[in-house]
């Protein structure tokens, strides 16, 4: 289990991290979300030891991480880091060897990952001659080539085309199924929701919410109703003490998403029926995006 315990970090007056704690058990994916500058990269760089925390600690399997233990982490920094002129395969073998992999095993791992990521043909190309998407794949391979037990990936999906996203997601699922603990940050919340076992939302250096998406939903007040009414007048719900979140008409059908608050669901349905012909009535689970918005705007 990877454990971040009460990390704090300040840059002068700016409190970049303020008591950040969360855990990532083996075989799970943790999605780390937050606005730009919320502290995601700072927390990840502290895990990797390229930045030191003012207080708090990072543990792996109960032991504080030291340089030797960090060799078991695969890292993808926010701003991509590879030698531009070095050939992809050489570069990956070099990084594997630096992590303590023997040169024979390194070559084997390099071939495996280049194959798996569809880069076998590009093995001898200088990294700078590859497309951005392929550079990103090499960067992922660089994080994987020493067969790490922990993956720390800062924005691994940014800049990938849909095929690249699928490949990346597939590889992460595969590694996690093999027992790796994975934490990654992303702004693509649908992706995070679909891929992660647990999610942490950070705002201004503080963890505002940590848990499964289901747990986060339960922690939030109320749920939502979606009501589609044919021929309903605008503001049909105004007489009810509800909060209208979305309201629009298409082909004569008015779709309203509302937070019923203390109003009963059946009362909302009755009001809708009085307004017109109800074609759709359902509870809407808030998406991670909704949860994120409510946390960030709170």
């Amino acid at each position: 289990m990877l454990e971040l315990d009460d990390l704090t970090k300040s840059y002068g007056d700016l409190r970049a991290l303020d008591g950040v704690s969360f855990t990532v058990p083996r075989g799970t994916i943790f999605g780390f979300v937050g606005t730009n500058g919320a502290g995601k990269s700072t927390a990840m760089r502290i895990v990797l030891g390229v930045l030191s925390a003012d207080s708090g600690r990072v543990c792996w399997e109960g032991q504080p991480l030291d340089v030797a233990a960090r060799r078991r982490i695969g890292y993808m920094p926010e701003e991509r880091g590879l030698y531009p002129k070095m050939r992809a395969a050489h570069q990956l073998a070099y990084l594997a060897e630096l992590h303590g992999v023997s040169s024979g095993a390194a070559d084997q791992a390099v071939r495996h990952w280049l194959d798996r990521l569809g880069l076998a043909e590009r093995a001898d190309d200088a990294v700078q001659t590859l497309s951005l998407g392929n550079q990103q794949r090499v960067q992922l391979a660089a994080a994987l080539v020493h067969d790490p037990e922990v993956l720390v990936l800062d924005e691994p999906f940014s800049g990938l085309d849909p095929v690249g996203v699928d490949v990346m997601a597939g590889v992460l699922r595969e590694r996690v199924a093999a027992g790796v603990a994975c934490v990654f940050s992303s702004h693509q919340l649908e992706l995070v929701e679909g891929l992660c076992d647990r999610v942490g939302i950070i705002r201004a250096g503080r963890m505002e919410a940590v848990g499964t998406v289901r747990e986060l939903r339960q922690g939030r007040e109320g749920h939502r109703l979606r009501v589609d009414v044919q021929g309903a007048p605008e503001a049909w719900a105004d007489r009810l003490a509800v909060t209208v979140l979305e309201d629009g008409t298409q082909d004569g059908v008015r779709r309203t998403v509302l937070d019923p608050g203390d109003v009963g669901e059946q009362d909302v349905l009755d009001a809708a029926r009085r307004a017109g012909e109800v074609t759709h009535f359902s509870r809407v689970e808030p998406t991670l995006t909704d949860l994120f918005r409510s946390v960030v705007s709170a």
Partner: protein, 394 residues
Amino acid sequence: MSELSAGATVALIARREITERTRERAFKISTGITLLIVVGAILAIKIFGGGPTTYDVGVGPGQQAVAQAMVAQAKQTDVKIDLTQLPDAAAAKDRLDGGDLDLALVDGKLVVKKDLNSELESLATFASQQVQAQQTLGDVGVDGATIGKALSPAPPAVETLQKVDPDRDTRQAVAFIAVILLYGQLISYGITVANGVVEEKSTRVVEILLATVRPRRLLAGKVLGVGAIGLAQLLLIAAVGVGTGLATGTFSLGAGVLGIIVQVLVWFVLGFTFYAVLYAAGGATVSRQEDLPNATNLLTFLVVGSFFAAVYASNAAGSTVTTVLSYVPPFSALVMPIRYAAGDSAWWEVLLSMGLLIIVTGALLSLAARIYENAVLQTGAPTGWRKALTGTSA
């Protein structure tokens, strides 16, 4: 997966530097060009250095006696006169205009195109006066043998108080070329180290590296790798240079040339270590290549200053300034070989001077490593030296 030892890590990093840098086309081209220049310089010493100076002198009608007197006089100095017979003054003018002649003797005059070389002038003047004196003495009935004796007295013998080393000139010439090369290696490989550090910073690959490698090992591997390339290149140049020198007979190893070459190789190792760690520290304080010159201009000034000191030393071998600079690091790296070649310093002095550079480098090493460690992960605006030293963040 096991933790690599410090040695294995440093060796791995150094090996990457060597394979990647020697693969570059620019490296191969610059090595080739340097070799050509060295071979050319040695051939130039052979062709233009030493040997007698030769003058082409045209001889007009009736000037044979003066011409022969010039040739005879020239033999006593290290000058050679080539004579060309001219039918008349017009021919002399043509040949002078064409640049075939340095001087023409016509109708008792010395005719030149523009300026008369002072050496040639004194030779010709002396010869002409001698011929006239011969004539005058002959006219008054003095016999030939007496005239010859009177006009060509035996020169006084020269007694040398200090022993002159016949190989000194060769040694100085070799030392000068070696110091130019040493200067070139120090500045270019120092800058290579700085560029390498900035490349790792600007591409952020340093984040990945330092997540698994301690900063000092990364620094040591880089300095070692780049230094090994610089030394190997210098060895190759020395081998080709010595080969050319021996093959053309420009110099022999017995003339103390080997001692200078070995010494310069050692100076490279010491001088490079001195500059490389400082260049690495300078490189670590910036995040972009375009900020690098600003961060390292003091160092570049030191290398260039050392070179000028060496040029000065080659013209003022025995001066106090030269002696002092031959001990002061890092000037000593470029000045001492010059001083040694002039025969002004003994081996123990060279070793003492090297020892001083080692001590100063040792002291700077931990300082530079600290700057590197503190600055290499700072991105954005250039890190100030003071901040880099103390490691306090913003």
